[in-house]
C-alpha cells in the first residue's frame, strides 16, 4: 500500500487549497472525498438538465486574492465577475435600492430619509475601519493568549499594537462593535426601518442569531471583509457557478502532482502511539500518511472520525460544546425566463444585485423567533440572485437560474424530523413570498431544489447544515476557533491538523483556513513555506 506524505479528508475548497499548497511544497498529497464529486459546499451541479446550480455557496468575495493569484486559479479556469448592490422590496410596492455608485446610492437613500443618506458615509467609514483591522489577520495563524511561546507573545503584542494604533476612542468603538447586536448598531446610524433591515441581512446570514443578538455586528463584518479586485466589500459571481472555485483549486492541486479520490468516505483517523498515521474508509480501505488533515467541521472531525479514546477528554468536551447550528436553507430554481419585479424601474441595474424582502428589524427578529421555536420562519429573510444575467454558462440563452438563500430554517423541527412534505412546505413558503414581489415568477419556474439544513448536513457533510462550519460569534473566532488552545490548525493528536472553515478565519469560501493550515504543517515538517502572507492594506 502506497504511503502518502499527507492525506486531506474532504475535497471542499479548504481541503483542496490545503492540499494544493502541500503539493506545491513537494509533498505527496491525497485528498479523499466522500461524494462522487468534489467541492463540498463549493459546487456547481446540473440537477435539472441544462441548468447548473451553485447549489450551496452562491457568491464569492472572501476568496483570498493572495491564494487566487498564487495558485494561479485564473489559469485553472476561475473567473470572478463582480456585481453591485442590493435591493429590498416592500409590500406596498416600493423598494430600497443599495447602489454601488455613491451618489446614486445617496439619492436613493435620501428618497427614504435624508438623514439616513447622510449617516451612510459615517457608517461605511466605521465599518471599513473595523474591516481593515480584521483583514490583516485573515492570512495569519492566530496567537494563543494562554501560551507563553515567544511566537504567541509576539503575535499577541502585534495584535495589541494594531488595536492601540486606533487610539482610545477607536479601540473602545472596536470593542463595542464586536460585542453589539447589528440591530443596536444600525439604530445608532439610521432611522428608517427599511434601510436598517436591508443592512442587517449581512449581520445574520449563516448565523443562528437574531438581529438583536449581541455579536451580530461582527457577522456583518465577515460579509464586508472580502474584496473583488481590491474593491473591499464587493461580491462577485464565479463564472460557471461556485464549482468553478473548487475545479480551479483541484486543477491547481493536480498540476503540483496531488491526487483526489472521490467516493472515499473516511470512517476513522488511524492513531498509533499518539500519532495520526492514516485513515480508514467505511469500506475498510486504509490510506497511510504521516500527516492527516481534516477539512471536516470540528464536530464531524472529532466526534465521528476519531475513537474518543484517542483524544484528550477536553477536546471531546469542547467539540461537543462547539456551536454549529443550522439556521439557513436554500432554494435553487430553474426559470424559463427572467422574472419581473414591478417595483423596480425596467431593466434596473438592481436586477443583478442581491434581492431581499424583509422590511424591518422586527420582521427579521420574528423570523429568528420562529427558528428558536423550532420551525422555519413563516416570513423568512432571503438573499436572492439571478447569476445567469451575467454568466452565460449556467443555463441556455434566455433561461435563468435563481439562487435563494433562506433564513431561518432549523436543522430539526420542533414537531419531529424533516420529511419530504415538510421540505416542500418550506419551499412553498419561500416561493409564495417571492411571488408576492414578482407576479410572473411562479409561471416561469421549471424546477426547484429545496435544501434545508437537513439536506446540507447529509449531502455536504456540514453538521446541522451550518454554512460556516461553526457559528461566527466571538467566542469562536480568532484564537477561540474552533476551540481555545487549538486555534493554530494543529489537532490534539500529533500529525493531525484541521483546515476547514471551523478554523480561523472561518467560512465564506475564503480558502484562508486551508492555506494557513498548510503553512503550519510545512513549519512542523520543517519544509520551506510556500504559502503567501496576506496583502497588507495601505
Amino acid at each position: 500500500m502506497k504511503k502518502y506524505d499527507a492525506i486531506v479528508i474532504g475535497a471542499g475548497h479548504n481541503g483542496l487549497c490545503n492540499a494544493a499548497y502541500l503539493a506545491k511544497a513537494g509533498l505527496d498529497v491525497l485528498v479523499l472525498e466522500r461524494n462522487p464529486y468534489i467541492g463540498g459546499a463549493t459546487v456547481s451541479r446540473e440537477l435539472h438538465p441544462g441548468w447548473k446550480y451553485s447549489n450551496c455557496s452562491y457568491v464569492c468575495s472572501l476568496l483570498r486574492p493572495e491564494i487566487t493569484r498564487d495558485l494561479e486559479l485564473p489559469r485553472h479556469g476561475l473567473q470572478v465577475i463582480p456585481y453591485e448592490g442590493g435591493v429590498t422590496f416592500t409590500r406596498d410596492g416600493d423598494y430600497f435600492g443599495n447602489y454601488g455608485d455613491h451618489e446614486r446610492q445617496y439619492r436613493e437613500m435620501a428618497r427614504h430619509s435624508v438623514r439616513d443618506a447622510n449617516a451612510y458615509d459615517r457608517f461605511s467609514a466605521n465599518v471599513m475601519r473595523q474591516t481593515r483591522l480584521i483583514r490583516k489577520y485573515l492570512m495569519t495563524t492566530p496567537p494563543d493568549p494562554t501560551s507563553f511561546k515567544p511566537r504567541d507573545i509576539k503575535g499577541l503584542l502585534e495584535l495589541a499594537e494594531s488595536f492601540t494604533d486606533m487610539g482610545d476612542e477607536g479601540l473602545l468603538d472596536t470593542l463595542r462593535f464586536w460585542t453589539m447586536s447589528i440591530g443596536d448598531y444600525l439604530d445608532e446610524y439610521f432611522e428608517t426601518d427599511l434601510i436598517k433591515a436591508h443592512m442587517a441581512g449581512s449581520g445574520i446570514i449563516g448565523t443562528a442569531l437574531g438581529v438583536y443578538s449581541p455579536g451580530t455586528a461582527y457577522v456583518l463584518l465577515h460579509h464586508y471583509m472580502g474584496d473583488v479586485d481590491g474593491s473591499v466589500g464587493a461580491w462577485g459571481f464565479a463564472r460557471g457557478g461556485m464549482g468553478a472555485v473548487a475545479d480551479a483549486l483541484a486543477s491547481s492541486l493536480k498540476s503540483f502532482g496531488g491526487e483526489i479520490v472521490c467516493d472515499a468516505d473516511v470512517h476513522r483517523v488511524i492513531v498509533r502511539g499518539g500519532r495520526a498515521v492514516g485513515v480508514a474508509l467505511a469500506d475498510g480501505t486504509e490510506y497511510h500518511a504521516g500527516t492527516v488533515v481534516s477539512n471536516l467541521d470540528p464536530k464531524r472531525t472529532f466526534l465521528e472520525c476519531f475513537d474518543a479514546s484517542d483524544l484528550p477528554a477536553e477536546v471531546v468536551h469542547r467539540a461537543k460544546n462547539f456551536k454549529i447550528r443550522g439556521s439557513s436553507g436554500k432554494l435553487n430554481i430553474a426559470l424559463d425566463g427572467l422574472p419581473t419585479f414591478p417595483a423596480m424601474p425596467k431593466s434596473s441595474t438592481l436586477m443583478v444585485s442581491d434581492m431581499h424582502a424583509s422590511e424591518s428589524l422586527f420582521e427579521l427578529e420574528r423570523a429568528y423567533d420562529d427558528w428558536k421555536a423550532g420551525t422555519w420562519s413563516e416570513d423568512p429573510y432571503f438573499d436572492m440572485l439571478i447569476p445567469t444575467q451575467v454568466d452565460p454558462t449556467m443555463a441556455a440563452p434566455g433561461k435563468h437560474m435563481m439562487t435563494v438563500f433562506v433564513q431561518y430554517c432549523p436543522p430539526t423541527l420542533a414537531d419531529g424530523p424533516w420529511t419530504p412534505e415538510k421540505c416542500d412546505a418550506f419551499g412553498k413558503t419561500v416561493l409564495d413570498k417571492i411571488s408576492r414581489y414578482s407576479p410572473d415568477f411562479k409561471d416561469l419556474v421549471l424546477d426547484v431544489e429545496v435544501r434545508t439544513p437537513h439536506e446540507i448536513d447529509n449531502e455536504v457533510g456540514l453538521t446541522e447544515g451550518n454554512i460556516f462550519q461553526g457559528e461566527l460569534t466571538f467566542d469562536q473566532l480568532l484564537f477561540n476557533r474552533p476551540f481555545p488552545g487549538y486555534a493554530q490548525y494543529r489537532g490534539p493528536v500529533q500529525g493531525m491538523y484541521m483546515c476547514g472553515s471551523g478554523t480561523h478565519p472561518g467560512g465564506g469560501v475564503m480558502a484562508a483556513p486551508g492555506a494557513n493550515a498548510a503553512r503550519e504543517i510545512l513549519m512542523d515538517l520543517k519544509k520551506p513555506n510556500v504559502v503567501p502572507e496576506g496583502y497588507l492594506d495601505d
Partner: protein, 525 residues
C-alpha cells in the same frame, strides 16, 4: 468662590452616591449630598404601599453588597441588621417538584446535575475572583495609559493567567456567549437550567439565548467570590440599607439634604461649578459628582448644548431599556406554593419553568409588548421580618419580567392587564393566593423611573451588555468616572461595574476623584 461651605456636591443619595460621599468625606473633603426624595437611599427604599404593609419598593434582596465597602463604612454599626442571610434559591415547579439551590449545592435534581452544579458553581467563583479584580478598580484606558493604568492592566492580565489554561480558555469563551448554551452544556434538569438562566437575565433586556448573558450571570454572582452563598434580607426592608449608608456618610462628616432635587449643573465657561435646585437655590462646589444615571446627568442636568456633539450622540445611544416591573402584594396569610415546605417560603423563589419559557417571555419585550407568561423573582420578607406587616400578615415582593419601559400600547392601559397576568401566573403556583391579596401594586419601569429617577426604569441605570460594560461603561468619554466636563464626575450604577447595591461604583468614583484632584494639585505645584 471662597465662601462656599462644600468642596464636593453629590447629586443623588442613592447608595452609590452615599458610598462616594462617605469615602470622600473620609478623605477630608467637605461633602454635600443632595437628594430629590424625602429620604436617602435611592432604590434601596422601603415604602408603605398599603396601610400597615411596607415593602422594599426598589431592590428587594441584598445580593451583591461588597464586603469591603460594608466594612469601610461600618454599615453594621450604622444599623444594618440582617433579617436573614445566605438565602437559598427555590426554583418553583408548577407541580410542586421544586429544586433548592444553596450555594454550590442543589437538591431536587439528579446526581449528575448536582455534581455538575457544584463544579459550575466553583468555576464561577474562580471567575468571580478575576472579575472582582476588574470590578474593584477604575477600568484602565488601553492606549494613552498612565502608569496606574498600565499597572492595573498588568494585574488584570496576571489574574487571568493565574486562572490556569483551562479556566482561562473557558472564560474567554463563556464571557461572550449566552447562558442558554452554558446551562445546556452543564445540566439536564430544565428547572435548574431555568434557575441559572434567570440570574443571567434578571433586570436585563435579554433572554437566555442572548449572547452576553453569561456576563450578566457572573455579574450577579460576583458575591459568590466574596463568600456569600445567597442573597440577604435586611430588617426593615431595603430602606434600612439606604439609612445605614446615609448614617455612614454622615458619620464621616458628609451632609445630606433631602427634598432637594437638582435641576441642573451650573457651568462657568466650560467647567462645572455647582448645581441649581428646583427651588432655584444655587450651590457651588469645585467637584460635582452625579449619582444620577448617565442619561439624566448629561441630557437633563448638564444639557447636550454643553457637551460635544459626538459625546451627546453616545449618551443618546446609551441603552437603558428597563424590562422589570415590581409586584407588591399585601397578603392576609402566607401563600401556599404547591408542594413548598413552609420553611422555604421565606427564601428566594424563582418562577421560571424552562429556559425556553423565559426566552418566549422575553420575545414580547423586543417588540414592545409585555410577557404573556412572565417570569419572576419572588421574596416574602415578612417571613423573616415582622416589622413590615401587621402581625400574622405578609408582604410579597416580586420582580416580574418582561415589562418593557416603552410598552407599545402604553402603561396607562397595560398596567392593570399585566398585573392581572402576573397574578394569574402566581395563582398557578400558589393556588388561592389571589383570595389572600389585601392590596396589590405593580410598579412598571415607568413608575420606577418616576419613583427613583432612573432613566428607563433600569436598575443598573443602563443595560449590562458587554458593549456597555467594563471599560466601555457607560460610554467612551465618561468611562473612568470622569466626564468631558471638568469638575463633573459620575458615581452611579451607570458607571463601572454597574448596579446591584454593590457600592463599588461609588467607591471607585471616590478614588478617581481623589486621585484626579491630587494629580492636578501636583501638576499645579
Amino acid at each position: 468662590m471662597t465662601d462656599k461651605r462644600f468642596d464636593t456636591i453629590i447629586i443623588g443619595a442613592g447608595h452609590n452616591g452615599l458610598v462616594c460621599a462617605a469615602y470622600l468625606a473620609k478623605a477630608g473633603r467637605k461633602v454635600l449630598v443632595l437628594e430629590a426624595a424625602s429620604q436617602p437611599g435611592g432604590a434601596a427604599a422601603t415604602r408603605e404601599f398599603h396601610p400597615g404593609f411596607r415593602v422594599s419598593s426598589g431592590a428587594h434582596l441584598l445580593t451583591q453588597l461588597n464586603p469591603g465597602v460594608a466594612k469601610d463604612l461600618g454599615l453594621a454599626s450604622h444599623g444594618l441588621d440582617y433579617a436573614a442571610r445566605d438565602l437559598k434559591t427555590v426554583a418553583l415547579a408548577e407541580d410542586g417538584a421544586h429544586l433548592v439551590i444553596d450555594g454550590g449545592s442543589v437538591s431536587g435534581v439528579s446526581g449528575n446535575d448536582a455534581v455538575a452544579y457544584a463544579k459550575f458553581h466553583s468555576q464561577n467563583r474562580r471567575f468571580g475572583k478575576v472579575l472582582d479584580g476588574f470590578f474593584s478598580r477604575r477600568q484602565p484606558t488601553l492606549v494613552d495609559r498612565s502608569w496606574d493604568d498600565a499597572f492595573s492592566l498588568l494585574k488584570l492580565g496576571w489574574s487571568l493567567k493565574r486562572l490556569g489554561k483551562e479556566d482561562m480558555q473557558d472564560l474567554m469563551r463563556v464571557g461572550l456567549i449566552n447562558i442558554y448554551d452554558v446551562a445546556n452544556e452543564h445540566f439536564d434538569s430544565e428547572l435548574l437550567k431555568a434557575a441559572v438562566a434567570m440570574d443571567g437575565v434578571l433586570g436585563s433586556h435579554m433572554g437566555p439565548r442572548s449572547p452576553n448573558t453569561v456576563y450578566g450571570y457572573l455579574h450577579r454572582h460576583i458575591a459568590d467570590a466574596w463568600g456569600n452563598s445567597g442573597p440577604a434580607l435586611v430588617r426593615g426592608g431595603m430602606g434600612a440599607v439606604g439609612q445605614a449608608f446615609a448614617e455612614a456618610a454622615r458619620g464621616f462628616g458628609a451632609e445630606i439634604r433631602c427634598d432637594s432635587k437638582v435641576a441642573r449643573v451650573e457651568m462657568q465657561g466650560c467647567h462645572a461649578t455647582g448645581v441649581t435646585l428646583e427651588s432655584g437655590e444655587t450651590l457651588f462646589a469645585d467637584t460635582i459628582v452625579s449619582n444620577a444615571d448617565p442619561k439624566t446627568t448629561f441630557e437633563k442636568l448638564v444639557g447636550y448644548p454643553n457637551l460635544d456633539a459626538g459625546f451627546s450622540r453616545r449618551v443618546h445611544n446609551f441603552r437603558s431599556r428597563g424590562v422589570s416591573a415590581k409586584l407588591h402584594l399585601a397578603l392576609d396569610t402566607l401563600p401556599d406554593f404547591r408542594g413548598l415546605d413552609a420553611a422555604l417560603a421565606g427564601q428566594r423563589l424563582l418562577l421560571a419553568p424552562t429556559m425556553d419559557h423565559i426566552e418566549r417571555a422575553f420575545n414580547h419585550a423586543k417588540y414592545g409588548e409585555y410577557s404573556r407568561a412572565p417570569v419572576m423573582e419572588i421574596s416574602i420578607p415578612s417571613v423573616h421580618d415582622d416589622s413590615l406587616t401587621p402581625a400574622g400578615k405578609h408582604v410579597l415582593s416580586a420582580i416580574v419580567q418582561f415589562a418593557p419601559y416603552a410598552l407599545r400600547e402604553g402603561w396607562d392601559s397595560g398596567k392593570e392587564v399585566f398585573k392581572r397576568i402576573a397574578l394569574e401566573q402566581l395563582e398557578r403556583y400558589a393556588p388561592g393566593i389571589n383570595n389572600r391579596v389585601l392590596a396589590s401594586e405593580l410598579s412598571t419601569p415607568v413608575d420606577l423611573e418616576r419613583e427613583f429617577g432612573m432613566a428607563g426604569g433600569h436598575w443598573h441605570h443602563g443595560e449590562i451588555a458587554l458593549d456597555q460594560a467594563l471599560l466601555m461603561r457607560p460610554m467612551p468619554g465618561a468611562h473612568q468616572y470622569r466626564t468631558p466636563i471638568p469638575g463633573l464626575y459620575l458615581c452611579g450604577a451607570g458607571s463601572h461595574p454597574g448596579g446591584g447595591i454593590m457600592g463599588l461604583a461609588g467607591r471607585n468614583a471616590a478614588e478617581a476623584v481623589i486621585k484626579h484632584r491630587k494629580d492636578r494639585e501636583e501638576r499645579a505645584a
